[in-house]
Symmetry: C2
Subunit: 349 residues, 2 copies
């Protein structure tokens, strides 16, 4: 074994054929005698020949790599998302170039631009993207799929979680289990998910409890903001008998506030969150929540992109909106200690 890697020429020389034949054999393009194929394969294996991907990319214009631009996501979400993407990518023989943790438009723009020419397509998950951003930073010809974005673009497919339906279903569940005064702890104003969940709450209230007033207190997805919201809710003249937080961390914070005030959950006030993070199962009482299958979102996004990459392959385009499941645990359950129930929901349309 020398220090230099074997090239296609070395293989051709050893196998006493031309480089063209070697290329044909290794790529499965037809037109080569079985016995020639055999010889070439043997020599290639003997020399540990691996095609140089740079040279190949140079001429084919394809990198077999897709880029994922992600924000500095919350841990569990992030890892599940990458996991789903990676799994689907590997199944298709695609490589995954990631760039995570940016806050700020410029940061995100730099990340997108840096991937130019290195990837065949992109998965973009960022609250900073809009139509202008994409026009400015994406090469016109580069396929891309947007995740959880408010952008409505004809050029780029957008995949979202059914935040609205999930939130709506949770409110419905709370009302149907006898709660009347359902309050909502909102998430960050600028966050797309937060906005959708807010809409879901409003829609469900309008539909299932049209004569009851809305009760929305602000939050920012942090545990602290949930705690503050809990305190605020307890101070209200007519306390709610159910609280729905726009994410689990706020629900946990709210729960702490209730515990500290000696308020019984779920006897006096029911509580529910959104995301089904791992903690939800372990706080006591355990937290009812809306489960989002994040890995599925990643997988679906990659498959959508793959469909864009080669339109020939009749890859069916997966659904644009991913459903959420309601997970009923102790904080909204009838009987404490009951096993959690999951209620599958299908996305609309």
């Amino acid at each position: 074994m020398t220090t230099k890697n074997a090239t296609i020429k070395d293989v051709a020389r050893e196998a006493k054929v031309s480089v063209a034949s070697v290329s044909r054999v290794l790529n499965g393009t037809g037109g080569v005698t079985p016995q020639t194929q055999k010889v070439v394969r043997e020599v290639a294996a003997r020399l540990h020949y691996v095609p140089d991907s740079a040279a190949r990319s140079l001429i084919t214009g394809r990198t077999h790599t897709i880029g994922a631009v992600l924000p500095d996501l919350y841990g569990e979400f992030f890892s599940e998302l990458i996991r789903g993407i990676d799994l689907a990518a590997r199944a298709r023989g695609l490589h995954l170039l990631v760039s995570s943790s940016h806050d700020g438009v410029d940061d995100a723009a730099a990340a997108v631009r840096a991937m130019r020419g290195r990837v065949d397509g992109m998965l973009i998950f960022s609250e900073y993207v809009d139509a202008a951003f994409l026009d400015a930073n994406l090469p016109a010809a580069l396929p891309a799929v947007l995740l959880n974005s408010a952008v409505k673009s004809a050029r780029y497919p957008v995949l979202t979680i059914d935040n609205r339906g999930g939130a709506s279903a949770m409110v419905q569940h709370l009302i149907e289990s006898g709660r009347k005064r359902v309050a909502f702890i909102a998430g960050s104003k600028t966050n797309f998910d937060a906005q959708q969940r807010d809409k879901g709450y409003r829609a469900a209230m309008a539909k299932f409890a049209p004569d009851l007033p809305l009760n929305i207190v602000p939050g920012d997805f942090s545990e602290e903001s949930g705690y503050r919201a809990g305190v605020e809710l307890l101070a209200q003249k007519k306390r709610p008998d159910a609280v729905f937080a726009a994410n689990d961390m706020m629900a946990v914070g709210c729960l702490m506030a209730f515990k500290q005030a000696g308020v019984q959950v779920p006897q006096e006030i029911a509580l529910a969150g959104f995301d089904d993070i791992l903690i939800a199962r372990y706080v006591s009482p355990s937290l009812s929540t809306v489960q989002v299958r994040i890995a599925d979102l990643g997988r679906a996004a990659l498959e959508r992109l793959a469909a864009l990459l080669d339109p020939d392959a009749n890859t069916p385009a997966p659904a644009q909106t991913l459903g959420c499941d309601i997970v009923v645990r102790e904080t909204s359950g009838g009987s404490t200690g009951a096993a959690s129930t999951r209620r599958p929901r299908r996305p609309p349309k």
Copy 2:
């Protein structure tokens, strides 16, 4: 804007210079008149010229990309690790090609081989790697850094968490706070971290409680195995007054067993885990544990690799072993409800 991307030739033509000059200007190699530079830069900007990375890689032999091969890691760990790596990589202008979620030697081998030629160096985190694996799958010339591996290799640097020291310090803490009979719930036999934590337990017991017997029950890092271990420990004739689990999930499972049996924590039995996962803070009583700074591990690994990549740059090689901190919470604390205390520890050597 045409459909085709501008090449260096286009820039050269427009700027009325040769491609060589364009290359020189854009790469900062000297030998070009300031005014020529100005013209070239202007034209390049106007045409939105971006050098083709494939062509560049082909001739320079460098990709400015590093590959990370990771196992199907536990969520929080995984995301923190990638985050650390990504941050450090971006600071150095390196791209990050990830391949996660594999179980099995063949799977890992395929992942490593698939990156051949696409990366300048590799970060490998897999319990399947050993010297033979590396010889078989890694090109001889490719720099690589191993994470949390038992491999002792002269060719590849290995970075580890100070599992042993962390475990030892936790046992010391338990003993110093008055516990006598400290039991240990072990992790998977084949796992490197588990082995090291086991050694730490034994070492600390030998040092701080030499006349007390060891008490080790098996586990496999899962919550269920922690629960079973808890039940087993309660059934012992002489119950331990402290239990140290090799990771947090098992500690949580054990805590559930204790709660269910009506055993008071920490009054009757103290409890501690390892990892400081998010849940540790939220179970009640909150869990004392050993915190590992995973993002730092990722960062250090990348910096080590970067140092290998260009030995000229006097990048100081970071420490081989990353320290852990002891986090004292309620399950091992004196007073319930006290704020958590963190005790920084420096790694040995």
